[in-house]
Amino acid sequence: MRTDRLLSVRNLKTYFLADEGVTKAVDGVSFDVSAGRTLGIVGESGCGKSVTALSILRIVDDPGRIVDGEILLTKNDGTPVDLVTQRPNGKFMRSVRGGEIGLVFQEPMTSFSPVHTIGNQLTEAIRLHERLNKAEARERAADLLTMVGIPRPAATLDQYSWELSGGLRQRAMIAHALAPDPRLLIADEPTTALDVTTQAQILDLMMSLQEERSMAIMLITHDLGVIAETADDVVVMYLGREVEQGSVENIFYDPQHPYTRALLRSIPALDAAPKAKLPAITGSVPHPFDRPSGCSFHPRCSEAIEGLCDIEEPETWRPAEGREVVCHLFGDREMAVSIEGRRS
């Protein structure tokens, strides 16, 4: 299943080197994205999920820098290229952005230009990667809009982004990202600004497009419900680091890291008992600038072991292919069992 590997991120570290100190926004993240599959990256604000996406596309703003790691993109002919070694604005990266990899942002309102029509921006994207004349490009653009389910494509081409509703704008954004027929679509909170009903439509659209084109999707979100509905594999991040990784079934039915478990417990489920006290996680996400020592989750973790979790950084445990847990408790099963025993 994992043979068709398209993108492989290895130990990626993206730091923001500001005058007042170093913010380790992404601090050692590894995962693979395969063709035809959806990788969900989930975490709360400040966990580095967006910076990971920006790093892959090499569009991290100053003073952010990729300080370590590899981002291996498998080219069409099967050879891998490390995107970290490429110049961010070089010819190759420009052909990757909006070529091999399409990007859908959270806020389609700010990612479209308000002074150019949708058609203008779509044909520009098409003609950057393909030699077509204006009329042909316009035709392609109309086809794309039809494909994403926009009811009157010809009329929409002549509209501005602010004339469209949120749902239509996000559809146009997806059309824009799909214009050069990318093999990987990175969607950063694509439905967060939308209503649930529109969200369901957009997610359905992305899933059906993926099936048609056997495209890989990297879906970044804070919403565990969206992950459960769309992802095949999941990476859970906390403060710039991966805490757990596995198939969607692993994460939802057999979560191992205390953070994942707490996160799943703290959402009020539609079928749960009403007004019951929610098992909340104490405290709030610290700023990545002052990351706690040891395991960064230990101050909020109900199972933290004093003298271990607050001092030593946990190792990554790999109990099975594609499954990773970064936690002291998991590493030493026996210790975990004895702690359970003491507590009960």
């Binding site: 529109t198 369901a200 565990l224 419900g225 009020p268 489920a269 009403p274 007004k275 709030s284």
Partner: protein
């Protein structure tokens, strides 16, 4: 404390268990065009809604963006002046007062009883004021002139929302999103309100912090006997916190009833579609989607008949021409749908 002649209205059929009775509330915004500001039409943001709020309960107002939830609650606290309708408030002294046409001066003595919590704790707290001044301001405005008294009260309020009183001289930026929302809650509680209107109080927060805030709101309700009107778009949050739910669509309440009835056995196709669209945190959950076509109708130019009919999977010809009226089903539930008697709609399924 009394309103003008027509302000006080007699107690309604439900007796004194209601704290608020809204009748046919409307808010239309004029659309003005051109140099002369000619009125071209109206945006019917809230278009004739009626509901009761019972003492001690949580009534949730749900709906997509543009459905008029926020406009409705802004009318209730008279941050906006309603176009028509009655807002009957049951005061502490047992009187019924219609808030809809009171002047600002007449409203002032009533304001402490009704307070608001806002969505974005980043923009609803003044960054140049300390927490003490933010929470103390309503106290000062209502006659607590002694600074030491105010400090004592703010200390008490901070403890109430589980924040450390030592932090009262800090500015909002020193707090996390969840803590800031607690400051907003403390400010709303400063004057011992009876009715708290919370407009999307947890939607700007992280999942883990959202749970803490919901727990706090539920605990405060029990401790202080508060009544909540809770505006939200997240149905799992609404399910968790509410007693009754009102579903709004393009300025109208299409369904209102007990939470469990609305969630497990919805009677309006829009409610069913809304519930159906909520992503579930269970990857194996299989379900059939109720397709919801198109987009929310334009409140400036709503469709004929039932506003929902162009998107409704169950619409028949009649729906495009006849305007549905509210029908009472199973006791106290009100539904505005022409086919309410014949439709079997899927709700939330457990297990």
């Amino acid at each position: 404390m009394t309103g003008p002649g027509g302000g006080a209205s007699p107690t309604s059929d439900h007796g004194s268990s209601n704290i608020l009775e809204v009748r046919n509330l409307k808010k239309h915004f004029p659309i003005r065009v051109g140099f002369a500001n000619r009125v071209k039409g109206h945006v019917r943001a809230v278009d004739g809604i009626s509901f009761d709020v019972r003492q001690g309960e949580t009534l949730a107002l749900v709906g997509e963006s543009g459905s008029g939830k926020t406009t409705a609650v802004r009318c209730l606290v008279r941050a906006l002046d309603p176009t028509a309708g009655e807002i009957r408030f049951h005061t502490e002294t047992g009187k019924w007062i219609d808030l809809s046409d009171l002047s600002r001066r007449e409203l002032r003595p009533l304001r402490p009883q009704m307070q608001m919590v806002f969505q974005d704790p980043r923009s609803s707290l003044n960054p140049r004021m300390t927490v003490l001044d933010i929470i103390g301001e309503p106290l000062l405005l209502n006659g607590m002139n002694n600074r030491n008294d105010r400090i004592d009260r703010v200390e008490e309020l901070l403890r109430l929302v589980r924040l450390r009183p030592e932090y009262m001289r800090r500015f909002p930026h020193a707090f996390s999103g969840g803590q800031r929302q607690r400051i907003g809650i403390a400010r709303a509680l400063a004057l011992n309100p009876r009715l708290v209107i919370a407009d999307e109080p947890v939607s700007a927060l992280d999942v883990s912090v959202q749970a803490q805030t919901l727990n706090l709101l539920l605990e405060l309700q029990e401790e202080l006997g508060l009544t909540y009107i809770f505006v939200a778009h997240d149905l799992s949050v609404v399910k968790h916190i509410s007693d009754r739910v009102a579903v709004m669509y393009v300025g109208k309440i299409v369904e209102i009833g007990e939470r469990d009835q609305v969630f497990f056995n919805p009677k309006h196709p829009y409610t069913a579609a809304l519930l159906n669209a909520v992503p579930r945190t269970d990857p194996r959950a299989s379900r059939t989607r109720i397709p919801l076509r198109g987009e929310v109708a334009d409140p400036a130019d709503p469709p004929s008949g039932c506003y929902f009919h162009p998107r409704c999977a169950y619409a028949i010809e009649r729906c495009g021409t006849e305007t549905p009226v509210a029908e009472v089903v199973d006791g106290e539930r009100r539904v505005e749908c022409l086919r309410v008697a014949e439709l079997e709609l899927p709700g939330v399924t457990t297990g």
